[in-house]
């Protein structure tokens, strides 16, 4: 009914207003503080490359390694391997800066592997060619007071993928960290076990915080804003382990409306800008007492990997049509241990609000929401693609301001599409009762 031009105009106006407000705020701040702090404005870059790497190699178990205050440039990735009970500590994230802007070798800024009980804290790490800080195969990891960022004024796919990236780790604590500008996820925990992500901040990333194929994860007290998606919990096929048991509480997930600048092909590239929380193909997840504010496309989405594969498949079919070559199916079904459907998901006592009238249209999912829920993007949406062998046990209760719950019924061409359907009451369906 509303002509499409109006639609675009409204969308443009909303973005313009937001941009102007931000600009105004920034200008005032700029004028007030000008170029302070002085040190950051005119740093003298030095190198501690050889001796720091040597120190990492020579460290004995139980050592504490101090990185002094200063701005340090690196041409090669740093690595720590096979150390136990090691503490690596800088002079604080406003004093010690490790920059990989001139990196010629290595896919990570700092890579920590195969250790036990490692504490890393107190520095800013920036502009690695790949991931800024990757930790693999470590049992007992603390990342604290680390600012990890890409400094390009306009974030793009040229930025590295992950700011803080523990993978295949156990007993992980990430707290009081900041993640900025990642072209995939800011704080990303993959294939890990027993994880706490708390009191962190993530902005200007494609995904603010992401837990992927991880089990026994608690995510609380974090703030994620200005990402394309604020918080993601994903389970993907073909990996070393599958995720389950995630608690998400007391987080502020707001204004995650950034353009999605992920390199296509990665699963986060299919996340629509304007996503608060996206729950993909995982199970036993509880989300409560969170604030979801002004995420323009969807407050919380619950989807299966089938939907993601189908959306990507469409692109492949299209590009194949040009090449005249047969379609290749996403092979995830070959992973017989993988369950692509979300189940046992409980959303309770969260607070939703959204001043936007339109979802982001730069993405298939956003467009779908527009078609299905005109003028009121969903607070909560579930694709309705159910596991064949069980009740999905998706439940909602007492989510303040969650006026639009959409059931898409994506598996049946959206025939069973429904707004605020019944049958999702936590007291009835979920085995995850409070």
């Amino acid at each position: 009914m509303l002509p499409i031009q109006n639609l675009h105009r409204n969308k443009t106006m909303a973005i313009f207003n937001l941009a102007m407000r931000l600009l105004l705020g920034f200008s005032v701040v700029s004028i007030l503080w000008s170029c302070q702090p002085e040190r950051e404005a005119q740093p003298v870059w030095k190198s501690i490359e050889s001796s720091l790497q040597e120190r990492f190699i020579q460290a004995s178990d139980g050592d504490t390694i101090l990185i002094p205050a200063g701005h340090f440039l690196f041409t090669r990735g740093l690595s720590i391997d096979g150390k136990n009970n090691l503490v690596l500590i800088g002079a604080g994230e406003d004093s010690t800066f490790l920059s990989f802007k001139n990196q010629k070798e290595g896919a990570q800024g700092l890579l920590i592997t195969n250790g036990k009980n490692i504490i890393v804290s107190g520095f800013t790490i920036e502009d690695a060619k790949g991931d800024n800080l990757k930790v693999s195969d470590v049992d007992g990891l603390t990342l604290r007071n680390i600012r990890s960022r890409w400094t390009a004024e306009v974030p793009s796919a040229a930025n590295g993928a992950y700011a803080l990236y523990p993978v295949l780790c156990k007993r992980v604590l990430i707290e009081y960290c900041e993640a900025i500008g990642s072209s995939d996820a800011g704080i990303y925990v993959g294939q890990s076990d027993s994880v706490i992500i708390r009191n962190n901040k993530a902005w200007n990333n494609v995904a603010g915080i992401e837990s992927e194929n991880s089990k026994w994860v608690e995510i609380y007290g974090n703030e994620a804003w200005m990402n394309s998606g604020g918080l993601l919990v994903f389970d993907l096929p073909g990996l070393t382990q599958y995720g389950h048991h995630t608690k998400i509480f007391k987080n502020i997930i707001r204004d995650n409306n950034h353009e999605n600048f992920a390199m296509p092909g990665n699963v986060v590239a299919s996340i629509p800008p304007g996503t608060g929380v996206m729950i993909l193909a995982t199970h036993d997840l509880e989300m409560f007492d969170n604030d979801l504010i002004n995420n323009r496309t969807v407050g919380t989405g619950i989807i299966s990997y089938e939907l993601v594969a189908a959306l990507n498949e469409t692109e492949e079919v299209q590009s194949d049509a040009e090449g005249g070559i047969r379609t290749v199916e996403n092979n995830y079904k070959l992973d017989s241990l993988y369950n692509p459907y979300p189940y046992r998901i409980a959303l309770r006592n969260n607070r939703y609000s959204n001043e936007f009238w339109f979802p982001s249209l730069s993405n298939d999912i956003g467009f779908l929401f527009l078609l299905k829920s005109f003028l009121s993007p969903p607070d909560i949406a579930y694709d309705g693609i159910k596991p064949p062998d069980r009740n999905p046990e998706i439940c909602l209760s007492n989510n303040q301001g969650a006026e639009n719950f959409l059931l898409l019924d994506a598996a049946h061409d959206f025939e069973g599409f429904a707004k605020n359907p019944t049958g999702f009451d936590c007291s009835v369906v979920s085995s995850l009762k409070p």
Partner: protein, 351 residues
């Protein structure tokens, strides 16, 4: 509003942090370094007769070759092994040979001045050692001096300019990266432990001048015994055009990728497994969406798309030299043109 905008731009410009070129940077040495327990000079090991740079092995130091070596910026490699007297390695059909404590694997990296005369004048860059201790392997690197008189221990690596005339008579050069001690392990790693990669039965099983290499290694006391080489698997020499594309490509992938991309290696996070014995399509990347590739995906949907090398992330990353994209992550700064062409052909012919 416009004024504010301009003002803001000016502020941003005024405050932006300029990163200088690395040459301009002062190097600071952190206090508190520790001495290494290893000999400072390569010559102290007594592997080679004088002059050192001739790399003529002393008695007990035995040369060997492998079928499908890792590409290292076109560097040539001369490999030797020294086992303790009367303690040969136990033959292992699947993994690297079971070497006894005191064994040292020796690998020399060098560039012939002219690749058309590989035995002519050359520049040796580094010699890497893998030393078998009681419960673990240690990786050491010795960096050769410009005058080629000696090589000195380094734990933090180096960058060395290498130049050569290639097979077609063109002058080439590269900033060759000597790895630091940790980087050795980023390839030489299984289940978190440092291990050798090359001396497996599949890699060693080859015909050489005068017979079978495996039988010679038994005769020289390096291996305890071997089954009939014809009954055990062998990787193809991927340069050998009489072999099938499939066998050459799978040998190249095992030699260049599978040290990480196997269930026991650090690349296991990706779900991509490239040992030559693997045949599951998903493990080989066929129709597999990338996991944590970041910009490494190159905007492509699948690791391998049969018939479509240009749409396959595998080839995209082999062809890249961006440290955040390229594969392998370490050990090269330029593209293995011949290797990439082989993988291109392999994917193109795949049905």
């Amino acid at each position: 509003m416009r004024l504010l905008f301009l003002l803001t731009l000016l502020m941003i410009a005024g405050c932006s942090v300029k990163t200088p070129e690395p040459e301009a940077i002062e190097e600071i040495v952190l206090a508190g370094g520790k001495a290494s327990k290893w000999p400072e000079k390569l010559s102290s090991f007594g592997f080679f007769q004088k002059p050192l740079q001739a790399l003529r092995p002393e008695k007990g130091v035995v040369a060997y070759q492998i079928n499908a070596p890792l590409f290292s910026d076109y560097a040539f490699k001369k490999r030797f092994v020294k086992v303790p007297t009367n303690e040969p390695a136990t033959f292992n059909e699947r993994e690297t040979m079971d070497f006894k404590e005191g064994t040292i694997l020796i690998k020399n990296f060098y560039y012939p001045a002219d690749f058309r005369k590989p035995e002519g004048k050359r520049r040796i860059i580094e010699t890497r050692l893998l030393v078998r201790e009681a419960s673990q392997w240690e990786a050491l690197t010795y960096l050769w001096t410009e005058d080629q008189e000696e090589a000195y221990f380094t734990s933090s690596g180096a960058t060395v300019k290498a130049t050569w005339i290639d097979d077609s008579g063109l002058k080439q050069s590269v900033d060759y990266l000597v790895p630091n001690q940790n980087q050795c392990k980023s390839c030489h790693q299984q289940k978190g432990k440092l291990v050798p990669i090359g001396p497996t039965a599949r890699q060693l099983n080859m015909t050489e001048e005068g017979g079978q290499q495996l039988l010679r290694l038994v005769n020289q006391g390096v291996l305890d015994s071997v089954p009939n080489p014809e009954t055990i698997p062998a990787l193809a020499n991927y340069h050998n055009l009489t072999e099938s594309t499939e066998r050459r490509a799978r040998a190249w992938l095992e030699g260049n990728c599978a040290h990480c991309h196997r269930p026991e290696g650090p690349g296991k996070t990706s779900g991509l497994h490239l040992m030559a014995e693997v045949h599951k399509p998903l493990a080989l990347g066929i129709g597999k969406a990338p996991v944590a590739a970041g910009k490494g995906s190159g905007g492509l949907q699948y690791d391998v798309l049969p018939g479509r090398p240009e749409s396959s992330i595998l080839l995209y990353r082999i062809l890249s030299t961006d440290p955040g994209v390229m594969m392998p992550e370490l050990g090269r700064t330029i593209v293995d043109r011949e290797g990439a062409a082989l993988i291109e052909q392999w994917i193109r012919e795949m049905r």
